[in-house]
């Protein structure tokens, strides 16, 4: 191999940089899995503590659902959503979802921060004021 | 072929690093603009397009001017342009890249730019603009690279390139026609609502672009052993002359329509640009500079004795380019917004961050141009040419 040593050193440096994120965290305590809290006062008041759809559905599909809601409300003029068990809800992040889940920091942000996702919803959609905020 | 761009003299690398410094400064400015918003520019609710879109508009013309050398050579076998076509094509590539960058920095939500592709809107001229610019960039890269590669190997270009060349010749006028349509189809802006908008763009493209190409060819001749050829440069000079005359003529037509019909909507933008209205006169010195430069340019271009003198030709080309750059790259765009739909005047002037970003994009354009020209020249120098473009016997 020509320039053998240069190549080997280069490969070692490359592996070092590429695996740096893993090496940096070796030995450190692992980040605990996210625990979104659903114990807001509004949810506590509910007789039947049920979201619009099931937890598993929401966990995997809430992003797509919100996108579809957006197109439905803004572009098609449909405001109401009928759940799989016949209930009616207004399709609104601000006025429906966040009315019950009024704790963005302990609910929405928990998972979003864990997976390092920054959805820009709240650049426009006003988040409910939480404890300690003016 | 890219490795030829990595070998160069001290001056070459000095130029590259200067460009990189300008790009760096502009990039930091852009981060500032991205964080705060377009409020850091001079644009306002009334003048909602400014320097960025103006520069884009002008550069679309420069990009299209590549066709001015490609068409005579490939369609009409005008051999004298044989060496300059690649310079024209590479100038087109650099110009289109600048166009796309100017559009990008002008957008309020640049991260959503792909929405134009995800939600195609054939009713929108801007959708078509994106389409034609992208295809034109692709065509020029494909054709320029292939032809140059063939020349490097010392063989004729592959025959499949020919149809792409023909398409690029037909495509070039489309990019500035579509860009002109951005303006010419808007009902509320009387400076722009003219049937000859696309024709004016054509005229300024085919005088501004070739004038830049002449300057670039002369610079290349000075610093390398590559010479585009006396005949090519003189032919381009004639093209610049005739299209500059056309351009000034078209401007005169606009003035006639406005001031003979005396319709206020048509007159007012021109009055604002050239004399100011009610004390608002920021653009007046700028527009008159453009006019004076145009007069100087024509004075030096029209008489063949002056045009054949290369030193005077340089002055004429600089004057032409600057005059058109001011007129199309600034005056036309800002003028369209003044007065506003309520006949009020809001003036516009670029801010410092806006200027730094603009300079950085020009530097990126020149960087692309330098690298591409270095490649082209290195390859063409291999086949040794003498000062007047005749192949030497080794």
């Amino acid at each position: 191999m020509y320039d053998g040593w240069k190549i080997i050193i280069g490969i070692i440096i490359f592996i070092g940089i590429a695996t740096f994120p893993i090496l940096y965290d070796i030995g450190k305590a692992s980040v605990p899995p996210p625990e979104p809290k659903i114990d807001t006062p509004e949810i506590q008041k509910m007789a039947e503590k049920k979201c619009i759809e099931s937890k598993s559905f929401m966990k995997t599909e809430h992003m797509v659902m919100l996108n579809d809601w957006r197109d439905s409300v803004v572009r098609d003029g449909n405001r109401l959503y009928i759940t799989t068990d016949g209930k009616e809800y207004a399709m609104s992040l601000q006025n429906t979802c966040m009315k019950c889940h009024s704790n963005k920091k302990k609910f929405c942000d928990e998972c979003h921060n864990y997976v390092a996702v920054k959805p820009y919803c709240w650049d426009c959609h006003i988040e409910p004021k939480e404890e300690g905020q003016t | 072929m890219l490795e030829t761009a990595l070998k160069g003299s001290r001056k070459y690398w000095g130029w590259i690093f200067f460009l990189l410094a300008v790009i760096g400064a502009g990039f930091i400015s852009y981060l500032y603009q991205f964080r705060i918003g377009l409020g850091v520019t001079g644009m306002s609710r009334d003048v909602s397009w400014g320097l960025y879109i103006g520069q884009f508009t002008f550069l679309v013309g420069v990009a299209a001017s590549g066709v001015m050398v490609v068409l005579p050579y490939y369609l009409h076998n005008y051999k004298a342009f044989g060496r300059i076509t690649v310079l024209g094509e590479f100038l087109a590539i650099a110009a289109v890249i600048m166009c796309m960058l100017f559009i990008f920095v002008d957008m309020g939500q640049p991260l959503r730019v792909l929405n134009v592709i995800l939600h195609p809107s054939p009713n929108s001229v801007m959708f078509f603009d994106m389409l034609v610019l992208s295809v034109y960039l692709f065509l020029n890269i494909l054709v320029g690279w292939t032809v140059l590669g063939a020349e490097r190997k010392g063989i004729a270009a592959p025959s499949w390139v020919k149809p792409f060349i023909i398409i690029s010749i037909a495509w070039a006028p489309s990019i500035h026609t579509v860009t002109a349509f951005l303006y010419a189809g808007l009902p509320g802006r009387h400076l722009w609502l003219t049937a000859i908008m696309a024709a004016r763009f054509l005229a300024s493209a085919f005088s501004g672009g070739p004038s830049l190409l002449i300057l670039l060819a002369l610079i290349v001749r000075k610093y390398t052993r590559f010479d585009a050829g006396q005949e090519a440069i003189q032919a381009l000079g004639k093209i610049v002359t005739y299209f500059m005359i056309t351009n000034v003529f078209f401007l005169g037509l606009e003035f006639f329509t406005a001031f003979y019909s005396k319709i206020p909507g048509h007159m007012e933008p021109l009055i604002y640009l050239y004399t100011g209205i009610e004390g608002h006169a920021k653009l007046v010195p700028v527009m008159w500079t453009s006019t004076i430069l145009a007069v100087i340019a024509l004075f030096l271009l029209v008489p063949p004795k002056f045009r054949k003198n290369e030193k005077l030709l340089v002055v004429a080309c600089i004057a032409t380019f600057l005059s058109l750059w001011i007129e199309k790259g600034f005056g036309l765009i800002v003028g369209g917004f003044v007065p506003n739909p309520f006949e009020r005047i809001t003036e516009y002037w670029p801010t410092l961050p806006e200027t730094l970003i603009t300079l950085a994009i020009w530097a990126i354009g020149f960087l692309v141009l330098t690298v591409l020209y270095k490649i082209a020249v290195s390859i063409k120098e291999e086949a040794v040419f003498d000062k007047y473009g005749q192949k030497q016997v080794k």
Binding site: V64, M65, D68, R70, S72, V74, R75, D76, G77, N78, R79, L80, Y81, I82, S92, Q94, N95, C124, I126 | I36, G37, L38, G39, M43, S44, R45, S48, W49, I103, D106, M107, G108, Q109, P110, R112, V113, N115, V116, L118, H119, S121, N123, S124, V125, M126, F127, M130, L182, G185, L186, P187, G188, R189, G336, F337, N340, P341, F342, E343, T346
Partner: protein, 283 residues
């Protein structure tokens, strides 16, 4: 088998492109989530084929009359006060006759008309140039009711619509609007505006809030589509106490049609062929 560096790079980039392209195509072409039966409009909502407004300028006599309408709109929609004219955002505002109708400028025009402020807003044209030019359909004319809408999620901030609008109806968010929104002044969008004299005495405050916008998008009046959806008239109409008449142009005996039938009406820049849906009458 040995391949050259060039061949390797060609194959690698082609594979990468195909890989990314394939994934993207899969994501983009995925079918939508809902079946048609799952969503529907609110039964309370007001429906029309073509919403229109008539501005009866004779009903606007004091400064208060204009302010009430403008503030109703700007308060429920969180319209920011940016503090300078350069970056001003306004959905509905006052203009003098000569500026709102520039083609009608005349030195011998009655002083009464010359100084009379007119309320101007987006005209929700039937042939809107702004919709024609939008490259992403972020602004579009709603099929159902003719409102020229804004989809803030899709707007790329190119401002082509602002150049196209012959009426200067659109505003751009040159920076983040949130710091400029008067928090104390906010109102829920389903607030019912009183017919009484006092601006503060509201019949019902409501509980639904309207989003703000972010920097980099264009905004304008959207005929209070969110209020229409819950059965309320637009805020400016309600607050105008009869100065603004709202209704369906396609219904022959609607309020707007009755007024247009009886009185002489005029629109802004009709010669441009935009067919505005906002009419003006002098009383």
């Amino acid at each position: 088998m040995s391949i050259s560096r060039r061949e390797f790079l060609k194959i690698a980039s082609a594979s990468a492109l195909l890989g990314f392209g394939g994934i993207s195509a899969f994501e983009i072409l995925q079918p939508g989530q809902f079946e048609a039966s799952q969503v529907m409009p609110d039964s309370k909502g007001l429906v029309a084929k073509r919403w229109a407004m008539v501005v009866d300028i004779s009903r606007f006599r004091t400064e208060e009359d204009y302010k009430r309408c403008i503030e109703a709109c700007h308060r429920i929609h969180n319209v920011p006060d940016v503090g300078n004219l350069k970056e001003e955002i306004k959905w509905i505002w006052k203009e003098t006759y000569e500026h709102a109708f520039p083609g009608q400028k005349d030195e011998f025009l009655s002083e009464k008309i010359k100084d009379l402020p007119f309320l101007v807003l987006c005209n929700h044209c039937n042939n809107p140039p702004c919709v024609r030019v939008c490259p992403t359909k972020a602004t579009f004319k709603r099929e159902s009711d003719g409102i020229v809408m804004m989809d803030m999620h899709r707007c790329i901030g190119c401002r082509f619509c602002m150049a196209a609008c012959p009426y200067g109806a659109r505003s751009f968010n040159f920076r983040d609007p949130r710091p400029f929104i008067n928090e104390a002044n906010k109102l829920p969008y389903d607030t019912v505006f009183t017919n009484g004299q006092d601006r503060e005495a509201l019949i019902k405050k409501g509980h639904l809030s309207f989003p703000t916008r972010m920097r980099g998008v264009v905004e304008k009046c959207t005929f209070c589509y969110e209020r229409l959806a819950v059965g309320l008239q637009p805020a400016c109409v309600e607050a105008s106490q009869g100065g603004l008449i709202f209704g369906d142009l396609e219904v022959p005996n609607s309020e707007v049609r009755k007024v247009l039938n009886e009185k002489y009406s005029f629109r802004r820049k009709p010669e441009l062929g935009t067919y505005p849906s906002v009419y003006y009458i002098l009383g």
